[in-house]
């Protein structure tokens, strides 16, 4: 590649500037979370101050945000377990079925992914209220499975499609039945994909807000609902809510590090392969 140095430097500078602006809100929240309110409320904003982790411990321990973390974890992990196990089976079948009906099913799933979620939230709320399931884990888990399922099937299918068909034939010749072809040949081949799908599904559940707002209560409140309530409150708690917000973001940064190589597939190809 013949590329001149000067345009490259300009390009690099422009991209760096954009990235810096883009990351400012995150950095600002982080700085606020380690500032004393005196520094946080100064105009113009201070850059030099004595950092403190006081608010981080205070919000997670004293304000009991750890409870919401546990709620979030219970709900997300149950959702992923149900959604990925059912979704993987369906994805395998859909990756191998040829013809009109399987295409129709895939298209239908894609259409479901586009539903206005609020249309689903209303009946869920009414049903959960009738059954007395508001403020329980099952209502929230079922709702998240419903949102997750189409996406899980599509992403998992994109991994199954990459398995060479000859392997299935060889396994069938060796005497495997339909289930064994799946469990002994296909499943081990897509194990990395299974992990990727599970993590994306986990992210989706962890971030979900609308259903959590409607279906959870004091005992089952998840992190997004807790922080939305808290962050909207009195500005005097600014450092505390900033600490909580930054804390909620940390697992997501870890998630991104873990999935570095698969991000494009999960976000783009998983969706774009349609």
């Amino acid at each position: 590649m013949r590329r001149r140095a000067v345009p490259q430097i300009l390009l690099f500078g422009a991209l760096a500037a954009f990235t810096a602006i883009n990351l400012t809100p995150i950095l600002w929240a982080f700085l606020t979370s380690i500032k004393q309110p005196v520094d946080a409320f100064s105009v113009p904003p201070t850059i030099i101050f004595a950092p403190t982790l006081e608010f981080h411990t205070q919000v997670w321990v004293e304000k009991e945000f750890w409870r919401f973390l546990i709620n979030s974890a219970v709900i997300s992990i149950s959702t992923v377990t149900i959604s990925v196990s059912c979704g993987t089976l369906a994805a395998y079948a859909l990756s191998r079925m040829r013809g009109r009906s399987s295409r129709m099913l895939l298209f239908g799933l894609l259409a479901m992914r586009m539903f206005p979620l609020i249309l689903l939230a209303i009946p869920f709320f009414v049903l959960a209220k009738t059954l007395g399931l508001i403020n329980t884990y099952p209502a929230m888990i079922l709702a998240l499975v419903a949102i997750n399922q189409p996406f899980t099937i599509w992403l998992m299918r994109s991994f199954f499609v990459d398995v060479p068909h000859e392997l299935y034939e060889a396994a069938a010749i060796d005497g495997c039945n339909v289930w064994q072809v799946f469990s002994r040949v296909a499943l081990p081949m897509v194990r990395p994909g299974l992990g990727v799908t599970a993590l994306f599904s986990l992210l989706l559940s962890y971030n979900e807000f609308l259903f959590a707002l409607v279906l959870t209560g004091p005992n089952t409140k998840t992190l997004p609902v807790a922080i939305a309530e808290y962050g909207g409150e009195d500005i005097n708690y600014w450092s505390l809510s900033a600490a909580a917000a930054v804390g909620i973001m940390l697992p997501i940064v870890a998630f991104m590090m873990a999935l570095q190589r698969h991000l494009v597939r999960g976000i783009a190809l998983g969706a774009v392969k349609g």
């Binding site: 590329r3 390009l11 099913l105 539903f115 971030n207």
Partner: protein, 304 residues
């Protein structure tokens, strides 16, 4: 006889193992989708035909009454127009910015991986948290932007309290979180363009802009239509950020159709009317999807 039957049987078993009976694999997922997705949706459709108010516990069949009431209501049309405006500005901004950055990354020879990671971060931050981050930038008086402007001696507008600026802020917030998605997808797309085609154009003396607009963009046209379709759908139903940033306010300045549905269902507890509004939203977005898909197929056929 046996010698003849055996291979036939084996072959049949082989065929069964390969192609037969895949449908049982669909059962668990089908049950799940039926119970937690299709049944509630059907129930919403059913509810939309009732005057059903949780507050007063009325439940009365009024057929399409909710729909005709909504269609005659100014608040419905206003929120629909507002949503369309916000969605189109946000997606337009995301696409142009995303394309510029993606092409920049494509031309860049050094540090692409790091940029990709850093640029991507806002996209996967919990939307509620992202909205708070942005709230702390745009907030009056102490927000970074307001405080910064004040420090420089300017008097900043009330970004969240003024109807005009609140709409801009909502668009910017959407763009902050979803431009990375555009960058990622478009960058991946640009990298799939046939290298020999690019080299041929370069030999013919094409500059970097000609290259982008006349060679690369036409090559990834289906991808562009698809990514725009996805973004428009998602922006249309998006809720989290606006709820945290402005809750539809000031007044109804940023009340999108989803925010309006939420207010109807969970503040006023008019479940029937809210369901009807949800169904109308579904119809609007479904016709948008249909248009987009028609566009993709039309382009595809044109190319063959």
């Amino acid at each position: 006889m046996a010698a003849l039957a055996a291979p036939t049987l084996a072959r049949r078993r082989l065929k069964t193992a390969l192609h037969g009976r895949l449908w049982p694999f669909l059962v668990p997922s089908g049950l799940v989708i039926g119970c937690v997705l299709l049944y509630p949706l059907g129930y919403a459709l059913y509810l939309s035909l009732f005057r059903y108010e949780l507050g007063t516990n009325t439940q009365e069949f009024i057929f399409l009454g909710n729909y005709s009431a909504l269609l005659q209501e100014a608040r419905f049309w206003e929120s629909l127009a507002r949503t369309t405006g916000i969605v189109l500005s946000a997606v337009g901004l995301e696409f142009s910015l995303g394309l510029a950055i993606a092409y920049g990354l494509y031309r860049l020879t050094y540090g692409v991986r790091v940029f990709n990671m850093l640029l991507f971060l806002p996209h996967i931050v919990t939307p509620v948290v992202a909205a708070l981050f942005l709230r702390w930038i745009f907030m009056g008086r102490w927000g970074l932007l307001s405080a910064g402007l004040l420090g420089l001696g300017f008097f900043p507008p009330d970004f969240l309290g003024n109807p005009f600026w609140a709409r801009i802020t909502v668009v910017l917030a959407d763009a902050w979180q979803f431009t990375p998605f555009m960058i990622l997808v478009l960058y991946a797309g640009l990298n799939t363009v046939d290298q020999s085609q690019i080299e041929a154009a370069q030999i013919d003396g094409a500059g970097i802009w000609t290259l982008l607009f006349h060679i690369m963009l036409p090559a990834i046209r289906p991808l562009i239509v698809f990514v725009l379709a996805i973004r428009i759908m998602d922006a249309f139903r998006f809720f989290d950020q606006i709820y945290v940033l402005t809750s539809g306010g000031p007044g109804t300045a940023t009340e999108t159709i989803t925010m309006y549905t939420y207010a109807l269902a969970f503040r006023l507890l008019e479940i029937g009317k809210a369901s009807a509004l949800g169904v109308l939203t579904l119809i609007v977005s479904a016709s948008l999807i249909a248009l987009m898909i028609a566009a993709i197929y039309w382009r595809e056929r044109e190319r063959i």
